[in-house]
């Protein structure tokens, strides 16, 4: 597959007398293949929006290489801009213009046919409210308008920053369906979102960023598999035997990651049947042996080290930095 979006070693450094030097992007890499729905994830302040803005020519990088649709940026940006639709953070529109006026002005600036405005209004579900002033719209309706503005050009690459922000559950489902339809029609979609359940449902592949560096990337199922760590939950017929079982398993080289009152959690288990056999040989009989599936949220929290810790208040810049001792992404596999 050909790459629609390529970023290599992207760096953006902000220097401030008050706050000193801050690396918003610290050698960030990203690659999105054609026709995919690609999730772009990261904690607040990790560099997602900076990446998108840099890619779209709004911010000048200090170093690195970027390409869109096979064209090197920023030189070729004016040439490829017509094939890239984007919303970066929630764009605001003039409150006294109607949705139709807003899109009409953009269509005119982009020399697009007027009928395209009605097509995208229909697509995002704003057809019947298109003549009303934007100031009367809810947050979700404004978000739909933003998505409509990005779709106006019928782009080959669609970049959406938090498109589900403010949408109701029905709207989120519609957005998910729209993304799928667009990808099915050959459009490549890059989706930045914090609704990780949605990303897991919609996306073919993901890139996770933390403190300006990539900590994981690849197809969703591979990222999940790489971080599932072969975790299984074991229950015994007699709870009282759990310490004996934990001891036997540890001696056999199996890692017991947690001993709960009524079960054990084992990690690094390739073949769950071997656990059953081992315990049976010790006269311990298993009543439950369940592989524990990981979801994107837990992988995200693990990779970015942003899981809440009781009694602690995490600050926005407290997340994993690739390459630092103890960082979750430094262990190889999908880590950068």
């Amino acid at each position: 597959m050909s790459a629609v979006l390529e970023i290599e070693g992207l760096r953006k450094t902000y220097r401030s007398r008050k706050r000193g030097v801050r690396h918003a992007l610290d050698g960030f890499d990203m690659r999105v293949e054609a026709g995919q729905v690609h999730g772009f994830l990261g904690p607040n302040g990790s560099g997602k929006t900076t990446t998108l803005r840099t890619l779209l020519g709004l911010i000048r990088p200090n170093d690195g290489r970027m390409a869109l649709l096979g064209h090197e940026l920023p030189q070729a940006l004016p040439a490829v801009a017509g094939q890239v639709g984007a919303i970066v953070e929630s764009p605001q529109f003039f409150p006294h213009f109607s949705a139709r006026d807003t899109l009409g002005l953009l269509a005119q600036a982009g020399e697009l046919p007027r009928q395209r405005v009605d097509e995208v209004l229909e697509l995002v579900g704003l057809r019947d409210r298109a003549g009303e002033r934007v100031k009367t719209y809810s947050l979700g309706m404004k978000q739909r308008l933003a998505v409509a503005s990005a779709l106006l050009k019928n782009p080959k690459l669609l970049i959406l920053d938090e498109p589900a922000n403010g949408l109701d559950p029905g709207g989120i489902r519609e957005m998910r369906s729209l993304m799928r339809d667009l990808a099915g029609a050959g459009m490549t979609v890059v989706l930045s979102s914090h609704i990780l359940g949605e990303i897991q449902l919609i996306c073919d592949s993901v890139t996770i960023i933390s403190l300006g560096r990539r900590v994981a990337f690849g197809p969703v199922e591979q990222v999940l598999a790489a971080h599932s760590q072969g975790t299984v939950r074991v229950r015994l017929e007699a709870v009282i035997d759990l310490p004996r079982a934990a001891d036997a398993l540890t001696r056999a080289g199996i890692r017991v990651s947690a001993t709960e009152p009524d079960h054990l959690l084992l990690t690094g288990v390739d073949k769950p049947a071997s656990v059953s056999r081992l315990l049976a040989e010790q006269g311990l009989y298993v009543s439950e042996l369940t592989p524990v599936a990981v979801d994107l949220e837990s992988v995200f929290l693990e990779l970015t080290a942003t899981a809440p810790v009781p009694g602690q208040h995490r600050q926005v810049d407290q997340s994993t930095k690739v390459g630092e001792p103890g960082s979750a992404g430094a262990g190889g596999g999908w880590g950068a």
């Binding site: 004016p78 801009a81 002005l105 953009l106 503005s149």
Partner: protein, 337 residues
Amino acid sequence: MSLYVTELRRLSKRRLTRLLLVLLLLGLAGVATAFSFSSHKLSPAVVAEAQAKADADYRQAVKDWERSVTECDAAAARGEKTEDRYGPDCGRQWQPQPEMFDPKWNLPYQFDFRAEFPMFIAVFAGAVALFAFIVGASFVGAEWSTGGMMNLLLWRPKRLAVLGAKLAALLTTVLGVSVVLGAFWTLAFWLIGTYKGTTAKVTAGVWRSIGLDGLRAVGLVLAVGAVAFALASLGRHTAMALGAAVAVFAISEVAIRIAVGVLGVAFGDRFVLSTYAQAWFMKQVQLLDYDACEFTKGECKPAELLITWQDSALVFGVGFAVVLVGAFWLMRRRDIS
């Protein structure tokens, strides 16, 4: 081209533009209407009436004078001192003369198009410049503060072209408003002159002079609009232009005036912007340095300094260029976040 047409459309659709245009129209119409009531055509009947009143005033003054002299003589005959009250010789030398009662003083005000219309061009320019300032600043300032500029740059990632198209649309609109309203303004005062004043001695040369005044007025209006636009773009907010205008006014008209007064700088007004604005409209302003005179040595002709409209063009041109080049330079360089 499509971007320019889009920006023209965007500007004309803006509520503030429409509202200010209506206010401008109402303001100018109000000034012209109110002024038309204050001017009166000097018909032969009005002139004759003024002459008759002057004659009557003269006759009344002679009567009063005669009565005063008679009273004075009577008082003198009674042996009273009269000089303090009536003056020497009972004030006979103060007999009223007919030329002391000019009938012009009894005439109502009549608008003279030739002499006074240039002043009204300055009034017009001031009103349209205010319109250009607010519309220019808010057109780009609101785009920056609402994120509209970023949205537009995602569509057209050519920063200078986008800012240039917006500026061109603003200047075209302001020029159109100035020319159209200026034509109506001239017509209105020509009609006031024709029907309620005088349009005498308005030769081709006068029209040429009025045309040049109008050109300078439109030039100033366009410059004000462009500078407001550039300031708002530099500060990415409409308020930046307003703040800068207040700061320039405070520095130029207050701080510099105080400073040159305290330091005793000769021709201090040459450092004040309003002097150049005045020279721009009046073609020239003469500054006099009375401090150079020693009146104890007799009559003194104070030193002079002439500020011409060409000097104003230089001062305003340099300021205009610095702000505009700065806005485009920063647009090219800045991170948009």
